[in-house]
Amino acid sequence: MPELDEHSPVLQLNRFDHLRHFLSIDGLSRQHLTDILDTAETFIEVGTRSIKKVPLLRGKTVANLFFEASTRTRTTFELAAKRLSADVLNINISTSATSKGESLSDMLQNLEAMAVDMFVVRHAQSGAPHFIAESVTPRVSVINAGDGRHAHPTQAMLDMLTIRQHKGQFKGLTVAIVGDILHSRVARSQIRALNVLGAKEVRVIAPDTLLPVDVESFGVTVFNDMAQGLDGVDVVIMLRLQKERMEGALLPSESEFFRLYGLSEKKLKLAKPDAIVMHPGPINRGVEIDSAVADGPQSVILNEVTNGIAVRMAVLSMAMSGQIADLAADEEVL
């Protein structure tokens, strides 16, 4: 009996090794990530024009399927698609079919029948975009806009773009990610991206109750102590702390969390003087970060939002051309 060959398929790449879905940072090379960053740079300029549009996705339909509430991610995906001249369909899942008992598969088939070209998916279950990418026809690309605790690859890439803009390169950088790593899809994608892009050291700073089992296997150094963890870092990434974490006995209180792991001006002094402060948002002021730091000179938080549109434009256009190239090659074979 042969061993079952169940290695994660390179589902998100087409036959030419280009993106056709964007599901996670896993399985992508430094070159893939650098291509995304370089493409995003070219789109930043589009946002500064008086007519903020390019025709790359003209005639294409992008459906935003948000099974979980989101304002910023959904809005920036919508803006990104519109700036690429796509038609955008926003589907509010809480009032739509799945709440009437229609299965996810049935719903996707219906959307496919409407000739939607791309699904931008946010879902509370880890692996949901993966499941969708496996079940759709070759005429649909799937972009992960955040799945469970698993991945939020566009967020990670906009953070990488922000870091590159401020630090020039990843080589030699020490990056600390602080807070609720356990539940964070953003942290998982950031850690992977930083390691692929060649950062010197990625640190996670949190109490053990907020760290995943075997987190060291992600390629990180673990710190329970904020002062030690922040010592000499180039980048500090703060994560959002959900209020419900107090209920499952993961933390005693917001105030104790802030005392130990909140970023104040005093603690920030432990990092390098030119360290930048990032946060994927939305910010809980006074829970994970002091207002003075969030709005201070080292904060690049609003920068991240602007970069979010450019990165999403890059990913949407790259996955679409990956899909088109694959379909064209299919026709040649026939």
Binding site: M1, P2, L4, E6, H7, S8, P9, L11, D26, S103, L104, S105, H123, Q125, S126, G127, A128, H130, F131, S135, D147, G148, R149, H150, A151, R185, R188, P212, V213, D214, V215, S217, F218
Partner: protein, 430 residues
Amino acid sequence: MSSRLLLKGGRIVSPGSMCGQVVDVAVADGKVLSIGSVPAGFTPDTEIDAAGHWISAGFIDLSHTLRQPGLEHKATISSEVLAAARGGFTTLCTPPSTSPVNDSAAVTNLIYDQALEAAQVKVLPIGAMTKGLQGEQLSEMFALRQAGCIAVTNMRRPFRNNQVLKRCLEYACSQDIRAFVCPQDAALAKEGCAHDGAMASKLGLVGIPAIAEVLSVAQWLILAEETEAQVHFSQISCARSVSMISEAKSRGLKVTADVAIANLMHTDAVIAGYNPMYHVEPPLRSEADRKALLEGVNEGVIDAICSNHEPHESAAKQAPFAETAAGMSQAELLWSQMVGLIQTGQLRQDAAIRALTVGPAAVLNIESGSLESGAVADLVVLDPDTRWTVSEDSLLSRGKNTPWIGKSVQGRALYTILDGTIVYSAEGSF
């Protein structure tokens, strides 16, 4: 009607005096008439050429879900007993997770009658330990035993508190009915769908830590010692459970254990692509756990290997990993997987056969599982060599939920014989 059968020239692989010999086996009146020299004047109605094949006592399965009553959209007793016979099983225990739950003689009788009518395999229902498996009120264990339940279990459902749990065990013991226990601490396993290790962390899946099982095993072992009750651990999955049960056995405790074939075959590495076919309970754990489980079978610490057959309709697996129903369709694939483990030297052949025959028979305290003259003729003729490709159409089970679809496997049951009657023959079915 049982007939007179002659199995010619097969190798006996079941434990017993003739184990390892290539001999003829004569069957008459539902019993094994002879092993070795055929009595003078014996004229069989049917002759089976078993040359190059193995002859074993029929397999006994300690956990085999049939889905009826109530879950007929997944499978039915009539579909699943055919699959079981094809898998080489002659006796199977079916857990109480029916709808309604098998916590009454009425449900037990219903299962019994349906199975009897199908006459493909002996079905021994396992009753619920508490009413509705709710973990609060004792079920009528005496009535369940009278109706034919071989054991009681609360599956992986929690007990309200340790008082209820202890009383369940004491009452079962006093009614002389075996307690089957699926060790798992409900709070530690809450919302989990995979082994809590590096893979689940990476995939962002909520994990079920090994400690959820190990703590529960420790608790049951102490209770078993305290109450002197017999406890059978169903489907253990952790290395530490094996060592704790081994230690308890060496101290003379009346405990036994089984392992599901999936936990012997796979580790959590296979869930890397979120394939929901690998969503099972207990979860697929680490390679160290898998190795310890294999070792446990080889050394006899683990008494039985069960299929943990759980057929599902296709929609049950069409969702993101955590939202899919747990379980694999295993009835017809257990033997092929065992052949794989034997051929790669991971499982000793004698230990493997014991864990499918005399091992589970001893757990159930039934007269079955051995291959001797005079024994009930529940037999299986096994072909350890032929390769076949698994396809949805090739499975008799209604459950097509297996990762083996499209893959080539080796080994199959050729004939399954129940009380001296051929209930399954592979001829023409491939």
